[in-house]
Symmetry: C2
Subunit: 199 residues, 2 copies
């Protein structure tokens, strides 16, 4: 059976960086948005739409785009998004069968549980997340700390709702992970080298 | 400033083993029940009583022992236990000043926050905790899984209540730790060597 590492992450905590570096250190494949791209090919839905849907719980996104009755829209969005989730899960399994890999997000530790992945969750204090977001996206430098905090919390709220919706579990609950890392005070490069050994 | 490592732990997850091995690997002092002994010397209260009080939230223990009005007993136990907590905190700081150390339990990451300890929380699945308890205390082999589960949950409930009572925070909430380790599937010896390097 291939070695699978899954990474759940709070927005701004460095989950993608950790994932990429770990994959590199351990010579494993790395997936995050690539999965979305693959889904897009299969379902022929626009990629940016899928990106948006998979980051938010279905019925929270749809009403903005469609001007019909809320009940109808809710159900419609749910069905469509559920089929995306199914397709996404199928692809995750395909990738897990294909080779050792690191997968960031996408409820992968839940979807791939029969592969016994090593499950990491990475999180951080708000101050640290704001600093990281500013470094990664300089265009956000103009936003105040309060505005940044609001954006970060909003993304995580969506991730949390999406996660509970599809897994029935609480997002970020340490019981579902093998290791939870607070990235607030750590040097990612050093951490990855040691983590690679740990895993 | 001395290096301090604090370890919070679910009952049966191997927190003391992790602590002892880490202290050994990093040549640091190790404290858990020693603290209690030291307190006992200072307050001249019976050691086993202190042991009991510090493992439970004050007013949950006292009524069994004293036959007065509940309100009086509650307040009395609270004051007495609070003074033990104060004394315990003073001793924790004394130890932190004295040398590098690993401290298991005792809300140490909260009490010693100005020392910027490296804060670990160790937890595990119930099956793994039962197995560990049976290995460590063969006399418990006669208990059924159900009885063991009840005992384990009871200890952790007390720890949780004691922790929130004195810190105002949620016990085991990963936000208060740098690293949370699920000991269910890990080999403690290997984990400690790598952890030592990480820290």
């Amino acid at each position: 059976m291939n070695r699978i590492i899954t990474i759940g992450r709070e927005f701004g905590s460095g989950g993608r960086e950790l994932g990429r570096r770990l994959a590199e250190a351990l010579h494993m494949e790395y997936y995050d948005n690539e999965i979305i791209t693959e889904i897009a090919k299969h379902t022929s839905l626009a990629e940016d739409y899928i990106q948006a849907v998979t980051e938010k719980r279905p019925h929270k996104l749809y009403p903005i785009r469609v001007g019909r009755s809320l009940l109808y829209v809710k159900n419609h969005a749910l069905v469509q998004s559920a089929s995306i989730f199914q397709e996404q899960s199928r692809i995750l399994r395909e990738m897990a069968e294909r080779s050792d890999c690191v997968i960031v997000g996408r409820c992968a530790e839940f979807v791939l549980k029969e592969y016994h992945p090593f499950r990491i969750f990475i999180y951080a204090g708000m101050e640290s997340k704001i600093r990281r977001c500013r470094e990664k996206a300089p265009e956000k430098e103009r936003l105040t700390d309060k505005e940044m905090t609001k954006q970060i919390l909003e993304v995580d709220k969506n991730r949390s709702e999406y996660y509970s919706f599809y897994t029935g579990m609480t997002w970020g609950d340490k019981a579902h992970y093998d290791l939870c890392i607070n990235s607030s005070g750590i040097d990612m490069k050093t951490a990855v080298n040691i983590l690679a050994e740990f895993i």
